[in-house]
Symmetry: none
Subunit: 131 residues, 4 copies
């Protein structure tokens, strides 16, 4: 399954679902026409209340990532891929930019910041591989 939830993370569960679906579309793991798992099924898989999943799905529909076909389920929209790549890049770039701005405001030197980035990027890739 392409979604993993951390219920104790600061970002809300429904938002984790939304962005992970978008990431999966952006990376091609989900393709236009693919069905999303049903609300009830995903709720069981993630040990989460169905309403929480439904809320995430609602947002995906509203963002045009997903189309709902009555009585059938939700499907990746044909026009989703481009939008998701844009969204993904915007989200990721935004978070990185914010973190770096804070570092600069905190008066860290360019070298210190670059060191931190190097270290943490290595760690992030190592963790990702380890999973």
């Amino acid at each position: 399954m392409f979604i993993q939830i951390n219920p104790s993370a600061p970002t809300p569960v429904y938002e984790q679902i939304v962005s992970q679906v978008k990431y999966a579309v952006a990376s091609g793991e989900l393709r236009p026409g693919d069905a999303l798992p049903s609300v009830r099924q995903l709720a069981v898989d993630l040990l989460v209340n169905p309403n929480t999943v439904a809320r995430a799905y609602r947002e995906l529909v509203r963002d045009g990532v997903v189309d709902s076909r009555r009585g059938l389920g939700l499907f990746i929209s044909p026009r989703a891929a481009r939008a998701c790549r844009r969204d993904r890049d915007a989200i990721v770039t935004g978070r990185i930019a914010q973190a770096l701005e804070e570092a600069v405001r905190a008066q860290l030197s360019r070298e210190e910041i670059e060191d931190i980035v190097r270290t943490e990027l290595d760690r992030a890739f190592k963790n990702a591989r380890a999973e």
Copy 2:
């Protein structure tokens, strides 16, 4: 004034105050023995609810960054500088790490992430100088 508040940012106002005071101490802009502005004064300056400033000050006392002298106000603690540098590095590193982890999870390649970091770090330093 060494503090700038963004009331519509995602991080709560009181936390923005706390970390910016710590940053100022860490960088030497505030030195042991310096007085903090009064709760009311700072609230006026930042256009913020006094309760919010009070909460931030409470946290600073709790963290040992600041000592209260009854009837006089709050003063940067002599032992604050080292702890603030530690806190600052931890906060900054944490945010950067989190942003990078998300980028990795979103399946961006190392090169793409490094590009974003380069661009955004340049921008951050340019903005800082411009202020």
Copy 3:
């Protein structure tokens, strides 16, 4: 074929079928005694679930628009034409009335609403001719 389905429209598919059959009867495109396509055939033609067609046909029987002759299929009822004209006018009038009421509630002026109606009615007739 006299029916066109829009699966992503807000009005349910089975209802689109029902009202379009009624419209065809009201306008004389379908005449008493004419046969309806079989459930399976229409389902294939419209790319729709057979259950949906079956439900639409059930409603048409219930409304007396269509008579079933065992083993032969469904046929436009002799007494259907008048009732269908009534139904058609009621449906159409109802939708128009609802749309206009909303416009009035939204505080648009009589002139603004009349402008919209003129423009959209022209467009609707132009599109209809173009098909």
Copy 4:
């Protein structure tokens, strides 16, 4: 109060709230900076569950009509007025266009449709005045 709910209407309650707030902003009845009634208060006034109000307010935030200030409440956004007028016109025009298209597809003549519009527009204005 500028909001009236019809719990038995086909359009969901939360959506009625959303569009009525937008209409109020578009017509100038609500102005940038004005506070919305609190979630709990409006829920009491409309005899509706607070979650339903919260959902409507969430959508308004998402649409940029309203800004949330933590701990204080929701306020009409400065940039809302223009967007709301656009939204209102789009919603109203869309519904009218849809109704007219259906009338044309049902083979009603231009005169018949214009008659219906005249009658129903009169009725709508009379009802509105009567309230």
